[in-house]
Symmetry: C2
Subunit: 454 residues, 2 copies
């Protein structure tokens, strides 16, 4: 059964499993104790730290193990901010950071650096956001939803010039290689590269001002309180080394499979937008959005067909809002599908995915009454479609159904209260070459105005 | 090789190992995802929560899994304090809580409730410490260094009456049974009962005001951010159930072994004080202190003889201060040895420990030149011993060497700058039936005055 959601969590790597099992017998004692069981645990912990630091590209004493990538981010941001309290409390982050970064930044003065339609920040724009009172900047190495790589090295240079430390969230990329550039702090998560759950990494370069905000604790340099999870740490370090050993070859192989998906989906499925940078991207991840379908049903149908994928559509989020990443990119969010291939994915599974996908999308569209082709006849000068109370993708479907009923130059006004419409109606216009005029508030929702161009 | 430090960390229980290995294949995916791998992970997580809640004695929706017992304490204290911000920020804790509790309380107004010579608080005294502005009270179920059980049910009643929530740190006792009484919050740590590292428990009763101080996160009711460590959680819950099944019988067996140690050590080794409550105590833990030896050397010699134990002596702490628990109890800290037997400990191993211990202590005493018996001859009216710059146990050894050189009613003044002397000189006086007069500051240290009584 093909699992295509490695970006959420990768299946345990065989090396991680072996290392975990081997160290259950040797790594359960308290490494702070001086008796033999403690000394054995300490040796395992020290060796794991050396191996992980080597893979990160830092000194062992710059690296601590945290209970997760999320906790590494929380600790890294709060500690770096506290360390530069005197400078200020302003944060600069990209608009497409992981929610763990954005949530950790809440309640502080934050500048979100916008991204282009591919999802990348511009180093120049990022640099301009740095202020006198900026305590910390955060930039992911690559985006978790669309795979776009960020210009970390250039941004790190801009941060150095401004004297601002840069925290790089490397959760999605660390298995593929070290992060280039002169970063100050780095975070990662072992279960993303096939390590076990329960292990994150936090590297803080020597010389970076850092004040842990945890209660005092002697473990992990005071940066990660609580008893060390040594068997999992050993497994994390061993599997990082193992995936790195095969990373170049596996990246080449998966990149070819992803290229095939990127090229085939728009050929096989009408009204699809592939999002994210086509070149500067993670090798194993591709995201596309399909007009006139809801992501939840697509995920459900793909699961029934044996494929596990994820989605940034509003209907798949607990808050019923589209992914903030797709929103920041200004791309279509409805019918969004993220495919992220774990190492070892077979070509035949990708082939089968491409075989069944068109039927799945066509089925869902059929059930929702999506328009097959835009109407050709011209009619009135303007129409109003009331989609208040209807969820994504209905507002866009209703718009597409009637656009042919107004004359060229005429307008369709869609009334909607679903948050996804704000993103998807303009995105539909761009895909369909229609003019998006703008939005204005109405009672109980928003009016989106579209002018028929063709 | 007998490992006698279960109170630090217990070897992995066979059930924990089996459960961990079995769930590595089923529990690696994101339980928030709706595809089959996610649903399987969610099922495992839900079942583990039910089992753990059953063992704790709470509802599943009152229990979250944290990355460690320490993190459960940190989150529990900060969340409960924030939830009662309007009432005040005052904390009441026992003086012998785990350092994780005391460190989490730092920087707030705290009342430390004293303990008696056995290490227990008095419910009446605890209740009197509760104030109008007390936001939270904390009391361990049993002490981690001396094994004394606290009167949790009575203290919980006093807290209820005062409208103050009580957090119980059950790290040392949860494997032996549920915590009695009407507590509000409870914390525990899986590796203490033979579960894996990486799992703590935090229970918060419905109706208790609680405001998580972590950045927003959807996992674990917002109380434990970061990807859930499901295989370890499954192993923790399964092993808790397993140890509970055998707890009654194993407690009876280990209590008999500990009783033998409690009775034999003072018979076999002169100048020993067994500390902690002889009856109301954990079944597997006993602590004693030996005059005229340093804990570090004793630990080292016991390790060489194959026994892993720990110590609250100042020389075994990174801060060179005696354990705050022994200090609060006012008992001897030098030559302190904690023995905590893991389940399954063999009688023969305890016998061998009792065989070798007298020789180990005698050797260390011999090397340090400890007095074999107090001098009998009487001499001058007063003497001054300069032990400035000398570490524990030297000041007490020097005192013991010369006490026989002053006449009955005469005094010995010990000049010392080692923090342990403040605890150990009065404790020596009590053990030796000499009169402790008091202390006064001198240049570079403290003068401790002892009057010869016998």
């Amino acid at each position: 059964m093909p699992y295509f959601d490695a970006a959420s969590s990768a299946p345990l790597h065989p090396v991680a499993r072996q290392a975990l099992q081997a160290s259950l017998d040797e790594g359960w004692a308290d490494p702070a104790r001086l008796y033999r069981e403690g000394r054995r645990a300490r040796l395992l912990l020290d060796a794991a730290r050396e191996a992980a630091a080597d893979a990160v590209g830092c000194r062992p004493d710059e690296l601590v193990f945290t209970p997760s990538g999320t906790r590494a981010i929380h600790t890294g941001i709060s500690g770096a901010l506290a360390g530069r309290r005197r400078v200020g409390s302003h944060l600069v982050v990209s608009a497409v950071e992981h929610s763990a970064v954005l949530h950790a930044a809440e309640g502080r003065p934050v500048t979100e650096v916008p991204v282009d339609r591919w999802g990348a920040v511009s180093p120049g724009v990022f640099g301009q956001a740095l202020r006198e009172d900026t305590a910390l900047a955060c930039l992911q190495s690559a985006n978790h939803e669309v795979g776009t790589e960020q210009p970390v090295a250039e941004v790190a240079e801009a941060c150095r010039a401004a004297g601002v430390p840069l925290l790089v969230d490397a959760a999605q990329s660390l298995g593929w290689g070290p992060v280039a550039g002169d970063w100050s702090l780095l975070t990662a998560s072992a279960h993303k590269w096939g390590g076990p759950a329960g292990v994150g990494l936090l590297a803080v370069r020597k010389g970076v001002r850092f004040a842990s905000q945890h209660p005092a604790d002697e473990r992990e340099s005071g940066r990660a309180p609580g008893f060390e999870n040594i068997p999992a740490i050993v497994a994390a370090a061993a599997s990082l080394r193992a995936v790195r050993d095969g990373a170049r070859e596996e990246a080449r192989r998966l990149r070819a499979l992803v290229d095939r998906i990127r090229a085939s989906v728009p050929e096989l499925v009408p009204d699809v937008e592939v999002v994210g940078d086509p070149v500067r991207r993670l090798p194993h991840l591709v995201t596309f959005s399909c007009l006139y379908v809801d992501g939840e049903t697509v995920l459900h149908e793909l699961d029934r067909a044996g494929f596990s994928v994820s989605s940034g559509s509003s209907c798949t989020s607990s808050t019923l809002t589209p992914s903030h990443v797709l929103r920041a990119m200004g791309v279509l969010s409805e019918g969004n599908v993220r495919v992220s291939l774990p190492p070892g994915t077979q070509e035949a599974d990708v082939d089968r995915f491409l075989e069944i996908l068109p039927g799945v999308i066509a089925d869902v569209r059929g059930r929702l009454g999506a328009p097959v082709s835009p109407g050709a006849s011209a009619g009135s000068a303007s129409l109003v479609v009331d989609a208040l109370g209807r969820r994504c993708p209905v507002p866009v479907i209703e718009l597409a159904k009637v656009i042919g009923d107004v004359e060229v130059g005429g307008t369709v006004t869609v009334l909607a209260d679903d948050e996804a419409a704000r993103l998807d109606i303009p995105a539909w216009c761009e895909m369909r070459d229609q003019e998006y005029v703008g939005e204005s508030p109405v009672e109980r929702g928003t009016a989106y105005v579209v002018r028929r161009r063709t």
